[in-house]
């Protein structure tokens, strides 16, 4: 990960940069609030926060075209917000209410939106990689020009079905970009301890899938790499693999005491590589925005998040009859 100030000098219009800043901040504030609601007992079960990794989804989304699809694992709140799903519906799903995207029946890990081309939050590590491959297959079958972006973690990168998918996707030249979010840990196990090849972007080599390592803490670097990979996939050259070097600040889930790493390790990344701080620095340096303008964005974002927290508490529980609906038709 590059240090603050070392942000790629990729060109971008001021309004665009401000948009990325806002989108990342929305995810950050949303996740902070979700963490609070969890602490208050309003959210139960698992809650995997995305704090620290915001540049990955915002950068990728910026490179995508309308019609492109997203699929990911259980650390999915950021992906959904980046896809344009409503904060209200996501937060209300976390609290298990009828107004949630899955009517409260899915929870934090399981939401879906055809409208926004978000094909789910999945709880079985690695499953989304095969499913994403199938989405890409359908794209090619329909010749619709769309590319699927399938996200998975460094830990998931060791599941067998990931490689079974790589092989097929490359064989069939499917329009898919595989994005490994390498945040260096799979629960309490570091990449060094789980992977014989720790440069995960090389994992496609034996399937002839080109890979690239990307500074996942730099939204512009992500966008650039994403654009290259999406173009590659869209132009019939088959899949590409992007390894986003990133870091999760919080525990694996809310119940993780995170004793496997020191406070200092986490603080060092926060201080030196935070994706939002880095973009902020650039915005100020380039005089795209001043402190006041950024505060205004923060206010706007906080209002959205507060409203979602309100909604998530005032939306009713799902009706008891919902237990027996949506099984099959």
């Amino acid at each position: 990960m590059a240090k603050n100030g070392g942000a790629a000098k990729a060109s971008a219009k001021p309004q665009t940069l401000l948009g990325y800043y806002r989108d990342m901040l929305l995810i950050r504030r949303f996740e902070e609030r979700a963490g609070q609601l969890y602490g208050m007992g309003l959210i139960g079960g698992f809650c995997h926060l995305y704090i620290g990794q915001e540049a990955v989804v915002v950068g990728m989304q910026a490179a995508m075209q309308p019609g492109d699809q997203v699929i990911t694992g259980y650390r999915d709140h950021g992906h959904m917000l980046a896809c344009g799903m409503e904060a209200n519906g996501v937060m209300a799903e976390l609290t298990g209410r009828a107004g949630g995207y899955s009517k409260g029946k899915g929870g934090s890990m399981h939401m879906f939106s055809r409208e926004k081309n978000f094909f789910g939050g999945h709880g079985i590590v690695g499953a989304q990689v095969s499913l994403g491959t199938g989405i890409a297959f359908a794209n090619r079958y329909r010749d619709n020009g769309a590319v699927c972006v399938a996200y998975f973690g460094d830990g998931a990168a060791n599941q067998g079905q990931v490689y079974e998918s790589f092989n097929m996707a490359s064989l069939w030249k499917l329009p898919i970009v595989y994005v490994v979010e390498n945040n260096q840990y799979a629960m309490g196990t570091s990449v060094q301890r789980s992977s014989s090849e720790t440069h995960l972007h090389r994992r496609g080599a034996s399937f002839n899938i080109p890979g690239e390592e990307v500074d996942g803490m730099d939204v512009l670097a992500v966008r650039e790499a994403g654009a290259r990979a999406l173009k590659h996939a869209r132009t019939g050259q088959g899949p590409m693999l992007l390894e986003m070097k990133t870091y999760r600040y919080r525990g694996h889930s809310m119940s993780d005491p995170a004793k496997y790493r020191t406070r200092e390790e986490v603080d060092a990344v926060r201080q030196h590589s935070d994706p939002i701080e880095r973009l902020k620095l650039r915005l100020m340096e380039d005089q795209v925005a001043d402190e006041a303008a950024l505060k205004e964005i923060d206010r706007e974002v906080r209002a959205i998040v507060s409203a979602s927290a309100e909604f998530a508490q005032s939306s009713p529980e799902p009706d008891a009859s919902e237990l027996m609906t949506d099984i099959y038709r």
Binding site: G96, G107, H110, I124, E322, I327
Partner: protein, 335 residues
Amino acid sequence: MPKKSYRQAINEAIRQEMRRDPNVIVLGEDVAGGQGSSGGPGKVGSVFGVLAGLYDEFGADRVLDTPITESAIIGTAGGAAMTGLRPIAEIMFADFVGVCFDQIYNQAAKFRYMFGGRAKTPLVIRTTIGAGFRAGAQHSQTLHPLFTMVPGLKVVMPANAYDAKGLMIEAIRDDDPVVFLESKLLYDSDGEVPDEPYRVPFGEANVLREGKDVTVIGTGFMVARAAQVAAELAKSGIQCEVIDPRTTSPFDEDTLIESVQKTGRLVVVDESPPRCGLAADISSIVAEKAFKALKAPIRKVTCPHTPVPFAPNLEDEYMPNPRRIEAAIREVLAA
């Protein structure tokens, strides 16, 4: 006797067996945890803390963190077991056996029979079961019927701390693949657990409470729920006989049949969907072998035929709860 939690009881069983037999090893995701990171190794001890401290005592050669790779975890453990090692493989949540079921039911379970008795596979697969954790459809299932229907697997469902220790020791010493299903909701429950090693044999039911009016049978966490309802009903003079089979394979038919011969009534409480499940299986055994003794139709209290819902209000209704159990008991008594 000292009081220990269900979690501690399992830990102690594994620890004592590892001391006794160098062939016993532990592997799985985050069974040690923290290796290679700034906090140092052994910091997780499996997600529910069941294996805490084992890494410190036995080291990285015998407490192995694996990548997230269930097929290879069970395949590797099964292969090592064929040579005489006694691996205890952890699948973090029973739901994840979907990823590695081939290695369980086509491989390990079949070796003894398929190889004409020449092969043995002393493998223990520990995994966790049960809803009630607000963990949603893919982290909450109770999949004992799936294992129970596979010939060659032994399936253990400890319902209290004492049994957890004795059954784990039995599982480790057993020469066949054993699926050891730990109820998440029981981890913090206490019981009297002797310090020394002891075995609880497979296929011997535990009769928690004797009674003449109705037989109530359940497994895992449901045993506590059935016992709780039975204790309540006892106050109004209803005498339930509560049976915990301890293992669903082998299954202690004799104790159950004997009980039904006495009570003439049966309620089966089971935390899993109703179709092709343990409750259906137990009901059919009784219908075949004790039909004449029955004074009322058998009642099953199960989950509905749905995935596990996330919303707390729905999940509480999904699980067999005391209200539903009591209603079923009253219904068979009224018949």
